[in-house]
Each structure stands twice: as C-alpha cells, then as structure tokens.
C-alpha cells in the first residue's frame, strides 16, 4: 500500500500530465514539452535522493542563505 508521501508525489505527477495535456489542447505544445521536461527532471532528481519516513530522522541542512 502506498504511503502518504508517495500518494502526494503520484498526485503531483498526474497534475503535471494534466497540465501538459491542457497545454496541447489549447494549442501550446511548446509549453507541454516544457512541462514534460520538468516531470522527467523532477523524477531524475528524486531518483537520486533517498526517501525519509519521519522528520525526526531528517538531516538538518544548514545551507548558506542566498544573498539578500
């Protein structure tokens, strides 16, 4: 059975597919291509990171802040 995080990710992937379909329907196939590319990149990035179940196990990032 899928957990909440996976369900959410599946919903996001479906939303992107719907956006791509709508773009084609309204005559903007170039936007559909961009959406498809975004979906592929997001999947590739997610494939390279390990899933975490609970926040207590997550690593604190402590990344430097962007220049204000």
């Amino acid at each position: 059975m899928l957990d909440r995080q996976t369900c959410f990710m599946v919903a996001v992937a479906i939303s992107l597919c719907v956006m791509a379909y709508v773009s084609v329907m309204i005559g903007h196939s170039s936007v559909a291509a961009l959406i498809t590319a975004a979906l592929v990149i997001a999947l590739l990035v997610m494939k390279n990171v390990k899933k975490v179940e609970r926040p207590s196990q997550k690593k604190q990032l402590n990344l430097p802040l962007v220049s204000e």
Partner: protein, 311 residues
C-alpha cells in the same frame, strides 16, 4: 523554436554550474540589480495607480490580502500531513509560499510585454500587499500552541524589509511624482529587460547550486515545490477571473499565487522562527519552485489565461 532572451539568461546561469564553470557574479552587482528591479516595478505601478485609483481597486486589494492569508493555510496541512514535517518547519515553509517572489513577477511581466499581452499596470500594488500577510500567518501557525507573541523587532522586520520599502517607496514616488517621474523612466523602463536578464543569470547560478544541494530531507519537498505553484497558480487564476481581470492580469495573479518568496520571508523567519531549518525552505522555494515557475508555470498560466479570455 524561439526562446525568450530573458529566460535564456536563466538557463545560461544554470548551465555554467552544471558544466562546473561558474561565473563570478559580484554580490554588490546582484544587490544593485535587485534594488533597481524593485524600484522600477514600484514606479511603474505608481504611475498606473494614478490612472486607475478607484473604489473597485480597494475591493480588489482586500481580496488579494485574503488570498495571501489563505495560501499558508493550504500549504501548512499539506506539509504536516503528507510531508511529516514538524510544526515550526511546516509553518516557515507555508509562509514562504503565501508570500510572493518579485523576481518571478518580473519574469511574468517581461514575458507578457514581449508577447504584447495587456495587463493591469497597477499590479505592483498587489505584489506589495502580498508580501507581509503570509509572514504573520506563518508565525501564528508556528506559535499558536506555544503561546509566543510577536515582538517589535519582528514587526519592524515585516514592515521595513527592503523589498516592501523599495516597492512601496517606488509606488508612492510613481503615484505622487506626477510628470517629473517621466524624466527618470528611461532609466527604469528601457533598461528593465536588460537588468532582469542579468538578475536571472545570477538566479540561474543560485538555483542550480541549490538543486545540487538537494538531500534526502528534501525528498517530499521536491514534489511540494512543484505542487504549490500549480495549486496556488490555479487559485490565483480563479481569483483573477472573479476580479474580472484581463488575460495578462489573470496570468499575473496566477504568477503571484504560484511564486514563493526567497528574500523577504527568509529574513523575517530567521528573526521570528530561528529554530526553523532555513535551508529546507530556501532550497524548496529557490531551487525547485523558482525555476519551475520561470520555465514552466508562468508560460503555462499565460497560455491558459489567453485561452480563457478568447473562449
């Protein structure tokens, strides 16, 4: 296939990072460009406000403020329930998404102007109005069970942060400056796309670096950083339809709903919620949502708004 020159600079910045040949972008230049963009957006809005000030605009402004309050209340339960995030981090990230990104707004304006699509020129007023409400909601969400109160330092940070001051200042000067404003508009009007291109070059570098820093803690936030622009953008589009805006106006309202702050809110959150992990929120809004908006969501909402107006 034609790509907008301004967007191409964003891709160029990202490309230099992926090729491991980063461009050294002086911090002072980045600060100057940010300052320029905010004043230019404010001035343009002030001039337009002079021509369009009406009771209807007050009603629209109230609706926009409510919109800014609503988004964190949508983002927060998603982060808590689906993302298993703790209260403080969920509230901090929700505040980022309720506020707006001036950079994303500037990109949307540039794309509309390059495509000759009309929009309500007083939109900078809405940008200013959307900056602060989410910060207040985020702090309330984080502190509501601990009973902490906001302090004066924080209130000052919310009211007097650089983006609000410059946007509001530009808006006031544009509104009250009358004909004298036209004298300085060649600088702030004609140079705007070029300055935006330079800004996006740096943002491409920063976003690509952030994307490289994505770690296991951000597994869920990658999906969230894509979901919120879609959801917030659609809500903004709905609000634009209710407010009877033009195609460009609807696209801009969708852009404001889709964007996540990476300047004003992080500064306020650092002060008010120091225990929140700022790396999580900034990496999500800047590394995931900003590029997604610039490359995908904004062109999509512009296309959808045009289609809605025509049909």
């Amino acid at each position: 296939m034609q790509i907008d020159a301004v967007i191409a600079f964003f891709l160029l910045g990202a490309l230099t990072v992926w090729l491991k040949a980063p461009i050294k972008f002086p911090k002072s230049l980045y600060d100057s460009i940010t300052l320029f963009l905010m004043i230019a957006i404010g001035l343009k809005g002030g001039i337009a406000l002079q021509e369009h000030a009406s009771f209807n605009l007050i009603l629209q402004s109230a609706a926009v403020i409510l919109f800014g309050i609503l988004i964190p209340f949508i983002a927060y339960p998603i982060l808590r329930y689906f993302g298993y995030l703790d209260r403080i981090n969920a509230a901090a990230i929700a505040a980022h998404y309720g506020s707006v990104s001036v950079g994303t707004y500037a990109v949307a304006v540039a794309l509309l102007e390059s495509a000759d699509i009309d929009y309500e020129a007083y939109f900078p007023l809405f940008v200013v109005l959307l900056e602060a409400p989410a910060i207040v909601v985020g702090i309330w969400l984080a502190n509501r069970k601990s009973g902490k109160q906001s302090n004066f330092k924080l209130d000052k940070e919310i009211v007097f942060n650089q983006s609000i001051l410059l946007l509001m200042g530009g808006l006031m000067i544009g509104y009250f400056g009358g004909a004298s404003v036209e004298k300085i508009m060649p600088l702030f009007g004609v140079l705007f796309p070029g300055m935006l291109a330079l800004f996006l070059l740096e943002m491409g570098i920063v976003a690509a670096k952030r994307l490289q820093q994505v770690t296991s803690a951000m597994y869920f936030l990658i999906a969230f950083g894509i979901a919120m622009p879609i959801f917030g953008g659609l809500l903004g589009l709905g609000l634009g339809i209710m407010m009877d805006l033009s195609a460009g106006g609807m696209a801009l309202m969708a852009t404001l709903g889709a964007s996540g702050s990476y300047i004003a809110v992080p500064a306020a959150m650092r002060m008010s919620l120091p225990e929140a992990d700022s790396g999580l929120s900034i990496s999500t809004s800047l590394g995931i949502t900003f590029p997604f908006n610039v490359l995908v969501a904004v062109p999509f909402f512009i296309a959808l708004s045009q289609w809605l107006v025509i049909n």
